[in-house]
Amino acid sequence: MKTTGALLFLMLISCCVRAQEAASVVQVTGDVKQALSLSADDLARMPRATVRTTNNGMETVYEGVWLHDVLKKAGVPEGSELRGKALTTYVLAEAQDGYQVVFSLGELDPAFVDNEILLADTANGKALFGAQGRFRLVAGKDKPGARSVRLLTRIEVVQLRK
């Protein structure tokens, strides 16, 4: 009994310690043809893109993969397929601390709008770390930064009408 308690305590401590570490993959789940678990290496093999931001006068060049290309890889409808009920789809981005924001699928598709939303893994050539997490979103055309989710862990695709 004592041993079980100690084991449970160790497991709990282990979880707490892990909770402070940035996730090493981004999960893409929900209404997708192909669920994904993307590491930095996986992203490095995909088409790369950059977004330049200015925050309080400090410029940062983020590099990563367009969120649209991530969704395309997961088999989410795009371009001419994105019509009818598919247009009731939203994309929920979740951070390690539980913070969540939503994009509509339409606003992520370059066939609809030039909205450059990046799933970034580097800033100024260096891998993201600390409070940025290993991955983050950069919604470069949003005025506030609230949808540029740091510590990104999960992308969930939800089609409201089927």
Binding site: Q20, N55, N56, G57, M58, E59, A95, D97, G98, Y99, N124, K126, F129, G130, A131, R150, L151
Partner: protein, 363 residues
Amino acid sequence: MKTSASRVVLFTFAMVAAGTAADFNWNLPKGFPKPAVPPANPMSEAKVELGRYLFYDTRLSFNDKESCATCHKQELAFTDGRAHAEGTTGQLHPRSSMSLVNVAYATSLTWANPALDSLEEQALGPMLNTEPIELGLKGHEQEFLEKLRREPVYQRLFPLAFPDEANLYTLANVTKALAAFERTIISMRSPYDRYRWSGDMAAISDAAKRGELVFSSSERGRCFRCHDGWNFSSVRYAGSQEHPAEDSMRGFFNTGGSLYAAPNRGVYEYTKHAEDLGKFRAPTLRNVAVTGPYMHDGSFATMEEVIDHYAVGGKYEDPNKSRILQPLKLSEGDKKDLVEFLKSLTDDELLRDPRWSNPWVKQ
């Protein structure tokens, strides 16, 4: 031709002696923006040096007891360690001295005046205010300027700082020099800066790294919502757009930290708008570990007390309290980590660098 050549030589000499606005060396780490400087008061090395002497000169008070540095001490990140600043006649100010660190980037100045955005104009406040008396120069202006005129240091520096002016010893030139010096008080070299911007992973402790996560999380500390960006406060920098009128209230919050009785009613004191009651600036958190006591009235002695105040969503209920403030789910460990993170913002170089020390004291 000879005259023209002489003029060129003289002009060049004057520019080299004074330092020009364009070539002013801000000595900023890579990536940080230059501050905005008003065209009417370009930076020069000579003006900064003059401003430094003035900043530490007790002749700036009518009774030769206090200088700017009395309430803005370098070793305390240019605060004074008091809940209420004390003027040269012993009168207490209703508010605590604000840090001058990175004041060159401030979108507006003082605790609660969104309309005051000129350092030159601000410097006149402590010099001439009478309620309360700070430096007490009102009515003593000519006597004060005469004292400056008689000082050999100023006889050398005023002509270098203002090479094109016939009338050197004016309050306007004093405030220009003070503002130029204050603009150089820039803090960007804390351990956290080395960690965040230079990638030195060993620069801060694991506790401080965890504290950064709490600070930056919308679901946990939410601190970044008011203390955002590299300055942990909104900034104005060279090339930035002027803040539109509707944005002038950015950076002022009612945090339910006091009962906001007169004369500490915040922005309301200036606008008389009911919705501005209790709104005060969210100051930069750089060097916050040495700038206590905290808040506009010094009502919290320690960083731990401030964190406890925010953890309960603001000590007092108030109809104007910012909706950003909500009770936080912070463990005692989270709070300790936050404190460690805040400590990592202390820039020891700033606290000791002779560039900002008292020049009247021979080293």
